[in-house]
């Protein structure tokens, strides 16, 4: 499978503190890539750099072989890159349908009727058809999370970044979200999945990358990584601390 997105030596510093340091890895088309690491490892920063919401201090991102760093976010989106947010950020004063419709019209560039049909399909995909005309601000937190995902999907992404979709969800909700993610993968979307709930990532991803303190410390198949001492150390602390 071909490389869809490659992160090349990306570093980012915030006022002298390095959030990311020389991170390099490739994401292959059709994969689910899990990105894990303890607090403050720089995962969200990396996603924002991929989305061009932040500009890296060094290094760049290549998408389908083209350098995309430096584009404005809305242009990045039109290339087929999209992300969800850790804390759901739907458009709080618009209803669910409109929330999704905006992305279909602008991100995916569809015509009005096609966009409306597409928006309904997407809402169905995330189990929100019932709430079509509910104002986003009045949804429960979990529904907002689903809607946030729906907004990300509305731009017809080929490469989707999920920022801790499972955080704070009950087991039932986790199952629901994981089923959506699997469905997306089956439809051919490449996914970069940042997560804390390790068990789900380990079970579902094809490739796993571990960040710690801004550096990539491990990359490989999830089963190999779980048993690697470096991975355990990153979380558990060093042996002779």
């Amino acid at each position: 499978m071909s490389v869809l997105l490659s992160i090349e030596k990306v570093s980012k510093s915030f006022g002298g503190i390095w959030a990311l340091r020389d991170v390099t890895f490739d994401v292959h088309e059709g994969d689910i890539v899990g990105l894990v690491g303890p607090n403050g490892a720089g995962k969200t920063t990396l996603l924002k750099i991929c989305m061009n919401l932040l500009r890296p201090s060094h290094g760049f991102i290549k998408y389908k072989g083209l350098k995309i760093t430096g584009l404005s976010p809305h242009k990045t989106c039109k290339l087929g890159i999209s992300m969800t947010n850790q804390i759901p950020r739907p458009f709080k004063r618009m209803n669910c349908f409109e929330n999704v419709l905006v992305g279909c019209l602008f991100g995916a560039g569809l015509k009005r009727n096609e966009a409306e049909r597409e928006a309904e399909t997407i809402l169905e995909k995330v189990f929100l058809s019932q709430k079509k005309y509910t104002i986003a601000g009045e949804l429960t937190v979990f529904e907002q999370k689903l809607l946030d995902l729906a907004i990300a999907l509305s731009t017809a992404p080929k490469f989707l970044m999920l920022d801790e979709p499972l955080a704070g969800s009950t087991e039932k909700e986790v199952a629901q979200l994981v089923s959506i993610i699997k469905k997306l993968r089956d439809e051919g979307t490449t996914i970069l999945w940042v997560e804390h709930v390790l068990s789900e990532v380990i079970e579902n991803c094809d490739q796993m990358i571990v960040l710690n303190e801004g550096k990539k410390i491990l990359e490989g198949k999830p089963q190999e990584i779980v048993n690697d001492t470096r991975f355990i150390e990153a979380y558990v602390g060093e042996e002779n601390a």
């Binding site: 390790l198 068990s199 303190e213 979380y235 601390a241």
Partner: protein, 242 residues
């Protein structure tokens, strides 16, 4: 029974916390005895910081009760909790970056009853962290990460608390500095301050604490002391693999 009361510094009984409709803590029970170091371990997002903030009353709990030295904390606001003798070293240090080191320490003694003895306690902090004395007139934001952490701990100690809450003090620091910090924490504990230590790093936390609680997804999934701990089992709990 009465004796038991006195020995317990802090007791958390069946506490539930929801933030904006999202339930974060489920039925938390935890207690700290006088002079103990208790550690609270868990992965990201397990709810450790939320629990700490709940003790500090920055976040209000919906169910259950928190009792500190046989006093219910429920009616208090955060700024009143300090007066009772709980002090916080927050996650991410959160020192006041645009104030000098000395002024940061002064904030620690803001409570009127503690102001009189401030000098004495500042000297104590300076003896614990000599580097702070050297930098007393420097802006706190210009300190290195380790020094900032020391300042954050020092700031919390100025009020001479009975209970010190330490939230992820090793985050982003080099092992060497972490070791020094932990040694100092032992010293502080030896002076009679009870400590609740929040950590991600399981081994280190267990090594220093008398007892430990493991949290996962807002619940306490394991408690006990060092002697009964089985690393493999715990690791599974920790990663939520079981």
């Amino acid at each position: 029974m009465k004796l038991m009361w006195v020995r317990k510094m802090l007791e958390i009984r069946n506490v539930d916390v929801s933030i904006e409709g999202l339930k974060i803590l489920h039925n938390i029970c935890l207690h700290i005895e006088k002079g103990e170091i208790v550690s609270l371990i868990g992965a990201n997002g397990a709810g450790k910081t939320t629990l700490i903030k709940t003790i500090m009353r920055i976040i209000k709990h919906q169910k259950g009760e928190i009792i500190f030295s046989s006093q219910k904390l429920d009616p208090y606001e955060p700024y009143q909790v300090v007066k009772l003798g709980i002090s916080l070293v927050p996650e991410g240090r959160r020192i006041f970056p645009y104030m000098t080191v000395y002024e940061n320490l002064q904030i620690g003694a803001y409570v009127p009853t503690k102001r009189k003895e401030m000098k004495k306690h500042v000297d104590w902090v300076f003896s614990l962290f000599p580097i702070l004395k050297e930098r007393r007139n420097q802006l706190a934001g210009t300190l290195s990460g380790g020094e900032q952490q020391m300042l954050a701990i020092g700031r919390a100690l100025i009020s001479r608390p009975k209970l010190l809450l330490l939230d992820e003090i090793s985050l982003g620091l080099s092992p060497k500095i972490i070791n020094t910090l932990y040694k100092t924490i032992k010293e502080i504990n030896a002076e009679g301050v009870s400590i609740l230590l929040v950590e991600q790093a399981l081994r280190r936390a267990l090594k220093f604490a008398n007892r430990a609680y493991v949290m996962e997804r807002g619940k306490i999934v394991w408690e006990g002391d060092r002697s009964v701990f089985n690393e493999d089992e715990l690791r599974k709990k920790y990663f939520g693999l079981s």
